[in-house]
């Protein structure tokens, strides 16, 4: 499914997992579990040795996954085996894409059922070549906006994004946070774009997910909280978290 199609039924819940954690073979099953529990989009992280945008939880997951044998070939193989009627989105660092070759990587995404890419260390100034490759392969390249992105820079980022816009809820790295900052709400308001807005970084509870939807986001993204449960082997807890979040954003719908 394409992202545009998925966003016809907003608000959405987007769930991130680190592919290959705890084992490469578990990824297909966990992705399908997420979709079954109510995730509308599954973000499949490709683990990198040097994840500079990630906090300790996702760093540790990436390290485990790499040690367990996850690599780019295994990643695409796993992605192509996932049977779930939701869009799959790649999330990963630019060097992994650059190393494989931009065109080849974008085509591998398209061929394995991945419809969009999120590359946290690729600002629009550096994204030209990958954008061209994605366009050729017919996949979306999703840009990120941070709380400290100056207002005059937002159009540059928004115009270079397709699929949706990823609003980073707070400065710093990925990881659960107890509080959702007031600035997140301001950020959602400040960003004017025809693209759907998905908010991530620090969302770990149904209440927080509902809060960003009420503040005007089209989707809530949950990442570290999922990865944390997977690291404890608590798939029942993961299913419960996703169900809880999905229900909470459904109720939050009348904005």
């Amino acid at each position: 499914m394409r992202l545009a199609e998925a966003f016809e039924r907003r608000p959405l819940l987007i769930a991130y997992i680190c592919a290959g954690d705890p084992r490469p073979r578990a990824t297909v099953e966990i992705a399908e579990l997420l979709a079954r529990a109510g995730a509308d989009v599954v973000e499949l992280g490709l683990p990198h040795s040097d994840p500079i945008a990630d906090g300790p939880v996702i760093q540790a997951a990436a390290q485990r996954a790499i040690e367990a044998g996850m690599n780019t070939d295994v990643y695409f193989e796993a992605a192509s085996k996932i049977r779930a009627n939701v869009p799959l989105v790649f999330m990963g660092y630019y060097n992994m894409i650059f190393r494989r070759g931009l065109d080849r990587f974008a085509k591998d995404c398209a061929d394995s059922g991945i419809t969009g890419l999120i590359v946290p260390d690729l600002p629009p100034e550096e994204a030209g070549p990958l954008r061209a490759a994605c366009r050729k392969a017919g996949v979306d390249l999703i840009s990120l906006i941070a709380p400290n992105t100056p207002i005059e820079r937002i159009p540059l980022i928004a115009e270079n994004s397709s699929g949706f816009l990823y609003l980073v809820a707070r400065s710093g790295v990925t990881g659960a946070r107890a509080d959702l900052q007031e600035s997140t709400k301001a950020l959602i308001e400040r960003v004017k774009t025809p693209l759907p807005k998905a908010v991530g970084f620090g969302i770990s509870t149904p209440e927080q997910a509902a809060e960003v939807i009420r503040a005007g986001a089209d989707a809530a993204i949950v990442g570290s909280a999922c990865v944390d449960l997977i690291s404890r082997g608590d798939l029942a807890g993961l299913e419960e978290l996703i169900r809880g979040m999905k229900a909470a954003i459904g109720e939050a719908r009348p904005i």
């Binding site: 840009s143 400065s171 710093g172």
Partner: protein
């Protein structure tokens, strides 16, 4: 030959800003502040006073007579080992710390491998009244205990990094993560010419004082330019610092000596060396496109060198470019050559070089013909910090 364009974010196809969006604004503010300050007479005056009176510049250019006799040519040493703190690192730190102060920052964070950059940061943090926290890999903490103590003595906090390979590369990751959440109060004081723009440019300019002095000194001493200038390369700041004085002197060969470690091969996760200019491939590390050590999928390899300051799987993007266009010649000295340089220079000249700098000396000992008739070796630091490592290596139980 087009070498570099100082105003650009790139050096040929290398450099750039491959960083999370959260860091784009702090980098822009830093580039603007630095661009403004570097032409500001008051800032320049302050920096130059600190460089002379606190750091001890200019450093001598010393004709190493015994070494010259042994190699049958004139070899000069640029004595950055005599700079306060014992290495060239202070040139960069003083400049960046003054920029940080002018920007209203109250806290410095730095990464360190050998501990020299951490020590320089701690000294300047103390001197200028800035809180200083230094990220250092656990492996490096173990092999550079003395420098850890020095940093603590100077009032800095050393934060052990336990992620990844627990060395310099991971310390940089941690510092970048910290900065993404702390930039409002904090300056990230990067210690070498790597990283995203403006670091490669700014650090090279702050270190260029080495090359400016050396060029003037050699002209005074010899009435002509040297045939070669050799420097060791970790990230590349001492090399770019001295090379920048001679970039336009095309008859002067610029030799970048990288760590050959214990061999030129690579395992699945660990390379046996730190020789990115010689053996690396294009890729992105720490925000820049450069030459890096990586596996076939793009995972960064751990590097290896006996010298902690050369133990880095990336290299400054400008050096990658200068090698590509043929202006800089890459070379390798392995652990053995460095140890040879370490002991020979001690005995011949009464100068104990840092193990990093000893790579440049070791290269010269093995390849004297590459130096021409008159050469300068950049002696980037002194070797006191390395005594335990060398004693260990000799089986004398240094720690």
């Amino acid at each position: 030959m087009k070498i570099t364009d100082a105003s650009m974010k790139r050096f040929g196809r290398f450099g750039g800003q491959f960083v999370p969006e959260t860091l784009m604004q702090p980098l822009k503010e830093l580039a603007e502040a630095y661009g403004r300050l570097k032409v500001d007479p008051q800032f320049r005056g302050e920096l130059s006073a600190l460089l002379s009176n606190y750091a001890g510049r200019p450093t001598p250019l010393y004709l190493a007579k015994s070494l010259s006799r042994e190699l049958s040519r004139k070899v000069y040493l640029k004595r950055e080992d005599l700079l306060h703190g014992g290495a060239h690192k202070l040139n960069n730190v003083l400049g960046q710390a003054l920029v940080a102060k002018a920007m209203g920052k109250t806290r410095l964070i730095a990464e360190t491998g050998a501990g020299q950059h951490g020590v320089a940061s701690a000294m300047v943090g103390a001197n200028l009244g800035l809180d200083t926290e230094v990220y250092m890999g656990e492996v490096d903490i173990e092999r550079q205990k003395m420098n850890v103590y020095r940093m603590e003595l100077l009032g800095a906090r050393v934060i052990p990094v336990r992620s990844g390979s627990r060395t310099l590369k991971d310390a940089i990751n941690e510092a970048m993560r910290d900065w993404a959440g702390s930039y409002e109060t904090t300056h990230y004081l990067m210690g070498t010419v790597a990283g995203p723009h403006p670091y490669p440019l700014m650090v090279r300019e702050l270190q260029s004082v080495i090359g400016t002095e050396a060029r003037e000194q050699i002209l005074n001493a010899e009435g002509r330019l040297p045939d070669a200038v050799a420097a060791c390369v970790g990230g590349g700041s001492n090399a770019m610092g001295i090379f920048s004085g001679f970039l336009r002197d095309e008859a002067t060969k610029l030799i970048a000596v990288e760590a050959g470690g214990r061999g030129t091969s690579s395992g699945e996760k660990i390379a046996d060396h730190g020789a990115c200019l010689n053996l690396g491939e294009d890729g992105v590390l720490h925000g820049a496109m450069t030459r890096i050590l990586q596996d076939p999928y793009g995972q960064i390899l751990e590097s290896y060198s006996l010298a902690a300051g050369l133990d880095y799987p990336g290299v400054g993007p400008e050096l990658a470019h200068l090698v590509e266009v043929g202006r800089v010649t890459p070379a390798i000295a392995d652990d053995g050559a460095a140890l040879e340089g370490f002991s020979r220079l001690s005995v011949l000249e009464g100068i104990i070089p840092a193990l990093e700098s000893a790579h440049a000396v070791g290269f010269a000992l093995k390849n004297p013909e590459a130096l021409g008739e008159i050469a300068i070796i950049n002696l980037s630091g002194r070797g006191d910090k390395d005594l335990a490592t060398v004693m260990d290596h000799e089986g004398r139980g240094g720690r």
